[in-house]
């Protein structure tokens, strides 16, 4: 990969300067909810930002079979780099390895491959960490009350990332002697969040805290809370949409905080892919190559630090 | 009754009873069939003939009674059980599969195959031989059955029955959809079969046929045997009718009332053409006139009336009713203009089988019983009930689903539909197919009465006798061409037959 020349570690400006045009293939899951929609839009926007990037976007899909053939197509086309947000990390490992073997650097975004050899660089949101952050925040707020009722509104339950988030959440709660009393799963959509939340509220007459995995479905969750006329609890969101942050900033809502899960991962992926393909390095590192693995932080956004995060938040 | 000196019967049925939901279809029926005979089963519509034969072919399990096969009591718990014994059945309703070829239909269920792999050539050859034996060597075994006419489907059905190693063939109204020539052919086959010692149970409403082909007759009335094993030659027709209906029926066509010379033309067909079927067809029907279409099966008579009715879109020409030209290919325009069609295949084209009788009767008129789209079911039911009573439809329960009626009564529903509508042109495609003697006479009278009231009527029938007896004018049709147009009294059965035979030979 990278040809014979040594990567150059230019300045930020230097990295931004137009280089030789590179073709980058991008494939991600179907943009069937706000966060993924934002991921896609951000990636495409990033591609358009650079005059020297020709971004090929494959149909968003939740079908590993189709996504594999998209990557195969990128390999055939001899793209310079591939940014891959797999529907399922393990399922796309084999074809990503094939791409790497064919000399095409793969940037793995968000859902990690099962083999380190399958990606030149991996850039991840931290799902477990996200759950942990939410759990820790709730622990801080409720830690003195071991009988507190904690509820969880998960996303698509069949996805491994949901399991990771829930595990992180449960583990963090355990440290302060709490556990999840009521758990429902939605589907990352507004309607799903509304439906799940209204059922949850009916099932649990008294709640102290709710963690909702996704701010997009959170819009529905808040509608349900509003309908039920409940406000005895506080809520922590997930992903970090602009809408959610505005609410946190406003301070009137039960939504007190949200855990950021960067929606710019794929855009970062496109940037890194460009650097790799153009043999550039990351400007703020001394290291002359783009690192192998980048795990993005999952910070908790509250009314105190919201202004810092609002600009990068996604509009769902 | 079984005579002591006769050999042991092949099939013996004792006291069979069968109930469907609310209907006691059979109440103790007896029957004995001997090898090599043609045993006719007669009875009015709904008497239970089809139900009886369905118990013999393993479709229905009887509630009571015994069945003996070659002297042994048997239980026929599935069609396969009956087929295995050697009982093959041609059902009243066409039992072929449109998507399969002729040969595949014939061998359905007992395919010519080795461990599941078909012998297509062998099956086709055997099928061809069978078809030849049936006098239809021209029917290609590899042709898809969906493209065949009803009559040809019937042939396939018969070939299927013959393809099994059978000792008894049950034919439930096989001649209903056949014309005179085809019936002759059928009889030839039946005689050949009985000559080989195969028994045939034959069901038909055509008394003449029974006289020609039958050896003995059993009669069922209201689910009970009223006669068993009468010898055909010793039983006068009037006696048979009495046994079936419990009364005397003068099975004659009603007298014609001459159509007044100044009667207006109601239906005017001018240069009508349906590509691939018929072309340049012109004729008129006047108020009060009955026009009969005679011809062989497949002569495109149905296509002609369907095109007049707008069910098929004419490629040229026009149809007008009372001077008003109809939109081609629009049934609703035809209905609005006052044309009614009683279609050839009543179950698939005429009735909604799971809907009650009254809704089937009012299918063309229910809008009339509505104000602003809101149905007045009371008025609708009332109108339907009137016709049900006038036509003596049985059962006279307007809420009974059409599915549970016998064939003849289903036919009456279709007539009732257009009687409620009050059309000025009535197209009747095989109106007495499968209708019993009693009801037939009623339908004839009814058709005549309608004509007298000023309705212009076209009747298609495969029974030439019926066309000649009922119609004022006759069109003899062959392959979409009008061979002759004449007054009914100027031609006889032989005349028609000669014409069409010559026509089809040409």
């Amino acid at each position: 990969e990278g040809g014979g020349a040594q990567p150059t570690n230019a300045t930020v400006d230097g990295n931004a300067a137009e280089g030789e045009t590179v073709v980058i293939g991008f494939s991600g899951p179907a943009a069937d909810h706000g966060w993924l929609g934002a991921i896609n839009s951000a990636a495409i926007a990033e591609g358009e930002n650079f005059a020297d990037v020709d971004l090929r976007v494959a149909e968003g899909t939740n079908d590993a079979n189709l996504q594999i053939s998209q990557v195969e197509q990128f390999i055939n086309d001899g793209v310079d780099a591939i940014v891959l947000l797999p529907t399922d990390g393990a399922a796309l490992t084999a074809v990503a390895t094939k791409a790497m073997e064919a000399g095409i650097p793969v940037v793995n975004v968000d859902r990690e491959f099962s083999s380190p050899a399958a990606a030149r660089t991996t850039i991840l949101g931290d799902n477990y960490g996200m759950g942990q952050s939410a759990g820790n925040y709730i622990c801080e707020r409720l830690g003195d009350n071991p009988d507190a009722v904690v509820a969880e509104i998960a996303g698509v339950d069949s996805l491994p990332l949901t399991t990771e988030r829930s595990e992180g959440f449960a583990d963090a709660l355990e440290t302060c002697g709490l556990d999840v009393d009521n758990r429902v799963a939605a589907d990352f959509t507004v309607a799903g969040g509304e439906a799940a939340a209204s059922q949850l509220l009916a099932a649990a007459p008294e709640i102290d805290a709710i963690w909702n995995h996704d701010d997009d479905q959170g819009h529905g969750v808040l509608s349900a809370i509003d309908t039920a006329g409940r406000d005895e609890f506080f809520m922590v969101g997930g992903a970090g949409s602009a809408n959610a942050m505005e609410l946190i900033k406003g301070g009137e809502s039960v939504l007190e905080a949200t855990v950021v899960y960067p929606s710019t991962q794929a855009a970062d992926g496109v940037r890194l892919a460009r650097l790799i393909a153009q043999d550039k390095a990351m400007s703020d590192l001394v290291e002359v190559e783009v690192p192998k693995r980048i795990v993005l932080n999952a910070p908790v956004v509250t009314s105190e630090n919201v202004d810092q995060y609002l600009p990068t938040a996604f509009a769902s | 009754m079984l005579q002591e000196d006769q050999p042991r019967p092949l099939l013996e049925v004792r006291g069979i009873s069968k109930r469907f939901a609310a209907v006691q279809a059979l109440k103790g029926v007896d029957l004995d069939v001997r090898a090599g005979e043609v045993h006719c089963v007669m009875g009015q519509n709904g008497a239970g003939k089809s139900t009886l034969i369905k118990t013999l072919s393993g479709v229905h399990r009887p509630d009571e009674g015994q069945i003996f096969w070659e002297g042994e009591e048997v239980e026929l718990h599935s069609p396969t059980a009956a087929l295995d014994l050697g009982i093959a059945t041609m059902y009243q309703e066409l039992d072929v599969v449109d998507g399969l070829t002729v040969a595949e239909n014939i061998f359905l269920g007992h395919e010519r195959a080795t461990s599941g792999v078909l012998h297509v050539k062998q099956a086709n050859a055997t099928a061809r031989a069978l078809l030849e034996r049936l006098g239809h060597g021209g029917l290609s075994p590899s042709r898809e059955v969906g493209s065949l006419s009803a009559a040809n489907k019937q042939i396939v059905s018969m070939a299927r029955a013959l393809s099994r190693d059978t000792k008894l063939i049950i034919m439930d109204e096989p001649s209903a959809i056949l014309d005179a020539g085809e019936v002759e052919n059928l009889f030839r086959v039946v005689r050949e079969l009985t000559g080989q010692g195969i028994a045939v149970v034959y069901i038909s409403h055509r008394l003449e046929e029974i006289r020609q082909i039958g050896d003995r007759i059993s009669v069922i009335k209201d689910g009970r045997s009223t006669a068993n094993g009468l010898h055909v030659t010793e039983t006068p027709k009037a006696e048979l009718i009495r046994l079936m209906t419990g009364r005397d029926v003068a099975n004659v066509f009603p007298d014609r009332t001459p159509v007044p010379a100044d009667a207006p033309v109601v239906l005017d067909v001018d240069g009508l053409e349906l590509e691939g079927h018929f072309d340049k067809l012109s004729f008129t029907v006047r108020a009060g006139e009955i026009m009969g279409f005679a011809g062989l099966v497949g002569s495109q008579r149905s296509e002609i009336v369907e095109t007049i009715y707008g069910a098929r879109k004419a490629t040229a020409g026009r149809v007008s009713v009372n001077g008003k030209v109809l939109t081609p290919g629009s049934v609703s325009a035809a209905v609005d203009a006052g044309i009614g069609l009683s279609p050839e295949e009543r179950k698939s084209q005429g009735l909604i089988l799971d809907e009650p009788i009254y809704r089937n009767v009012s299918l063309s008129t229910f809008e009339r019983f509505a104000r602003a789209g809101l149905l007045d079911e009371r008025a609708e039911r009332h109108a339907a009930r009137e016709q049900i009573e006038a036509l003596e439809l049985r059962p006279a329960d307007p809420d009974r689903p059409a599915r549970t009626l016998s064939g003849g009564n289903q036919q009456k529903i279709l007539l009732a539909r257009w009687l409620v509508h009050g059309t000025s042109v009535l197209l009747l495609d095989e109106p007495t197919r499968g209708v019993d003697v009693g009801a037939r006479a009623e339908i004839y009278t009814l058709i005549r009465r309608l004509a007298e009231a000023g309705t212009a009527i076209i009747v298609i029938s495969s029974e030439i006798e019926e066309v000649l007896g009922l119609a004022d004018h006759v069109l003899v049709i062959d392959d979409g061409n009008v061979l002759t147009q004449t007054t009914a009294s100027d031609i006889d059965e032989h005349g028609v037959l000669d014409l069409v035979m010559k026509g089809s030979a040409a």
């Binding site: 509608s223 309908t227 | 799971d354 299918l363 809101l374 059962p395 329960d397």
Partner: protein, 358 residues
């Protein structure tokens, strides 16, 4: 012979579905109407009651509380309205896979900034009108392709499912649009006589649907076409036109459901209504409408919707794992249909026991 095109599964039930004769003495139309479906509905009522009993046993009074009942009803209302439209389409022997997608599309279009702006300047009813127009148009396209293009309904509406979702994404730019018109949300989120407006809408649509199906020529045509399309055509019914109107009806109910969804979630997005088509069809068929057409029951559909929504509620009350929920739901779908059939058969048997001589 009539069995011909019935789906495989219909075979034995076809024998048992013959509506019971209402007695030789000629019961009233009303009587016979209820008779026909009541036996099947009884099975559903029992299934619903069983779920209630389980709910009460496992969660006690909380389950029976008025608030919880309203949660069940509110949840049922949106899918319920769609199911009413789908009932008509299925009764006529068709199917509509696009309702969920069309619903999503209507929410997106009606929540567009321009529409909301215009609505703020005039009246919130404008949003209603826009949604209904979008739904009707989508239904019209479905109907025309099916009736005049002779494309199988399954495929035509599958295409609409895919296409409408794509269009909704394009229009919304894949974002969730917020409904800011407070007049609209105010009305949709209000209570009338202690019952949410959404539930009222469901009740009204269901009542109107019942009336339309059972008391009008429109309903009669629908049943006739589903029972035997060719016979209906030959009897002079304008079959194609009617088929088009059925899909328009389904599109309109999808639009109404979309408006309810906008009220409930105060948002419009292309993901609204995802997979609702399957939920609606399941509710309709579990309710007793024949998938092959020719028999439809609004009461059954309402019961079917309530069964599913109560089930979800009981699951949540018991904090059940979602995968286990799926497993149980699958089993319950089958059981509900079996139960319903059992009752229809019993009814038939009873009719046999007291024979009526015609």
């Amino acid at each position: 012979m009539s069995e011909q095109k019935t789906p495989v599964a219909e075979q034995p039930s076809a024998q048992t579905t013959a509506p019971s004769p209402s007695g030789g003495s000629g019961g009233s139309a009303l009587q016979s109407l209820f008779h026909g479906s009541s036996a099947r509905s009884l099975g559903l009522v029992i299934a619903l009651a069983a779920i209630f009993v389980i709910g009460i046993i496992t969660t006690g009074d909380r389950f029976l509380s008025g608030d919880n009942m309203l949660v069940i009803l509110r949840h049922a209302s949106i899918i319920g309205v769609i199911s009413i439209g789908v009932t008509f389409v299925i009764t006529a022997g068709g199917i509509d896979l696009s309702v969920g997608s069309v619903m999503g599309l209507t929410t997106v279009v009606a929540s567009l900034a321009s529409v909301q702006m215009a609505a703020t300047q005039s009246t919130w009813l404008l949003m209603v009108l826009v949604a209904l127009a979008v739904g009707a148009l989508a239904g019209l396209i479905n109907g025309v392709i099916i009736a005049y293009g002779s494309v199988v309904a399954f495929i035509a509406t599958l295409a609409m499912l895919v296409g409408a979702r794509g269009l909704a994404e394009i229009i919304s730019g894949r974002r969730t649009l917020l409904v800011t018109n407070t007049d609209f949300t105010g009305v949709m989120r209000a209570d009338v006589l202690g019952i949410p407006v959404l539930v009222w809408i469901f009740a009204l649509v269901a009542a109107a649907g019942w009336f339309l199906l059972n008391r009008t020529t429109f309903g009669r045509r629908t049943v006739a076409i589903g029972g035997n399309l060719e016979a209906s055509r030959l009897a002079g019914i304008k079959v194609k036109r009617h088929v088009v109107s059925l899909y328009v009806l389904a599109g309109v109910t999808a639009a109404i459901a979309g408006l309810m969804m906008m009220g409930r979630t105060t948002s419009g997005t292309s993901t609204h209504g995802l997979l609702y088509e399957l939920d609606a069809i399941a509710a309709v068929v579990v309710g007793g409408t024949l998938l092959a057409g020719g028999r439809g029951t609004i009461i059954g559909t309402v019961l079917g919707v309530l069964i599913f929504s109560t089930l979800t509620n009981v699951f949540t009350q018991n904090n059940m794992d979602t995968s286990v929920q799926a497993l149980i739901k699958g089993a319950i779908i089958v059981l509900a249909v079996l139960l319903q059939q059992r009752f229809a058969v019993r009814k038939e048997r009873k009719a046999k026991a007291k024979p009526i001589r015609a």
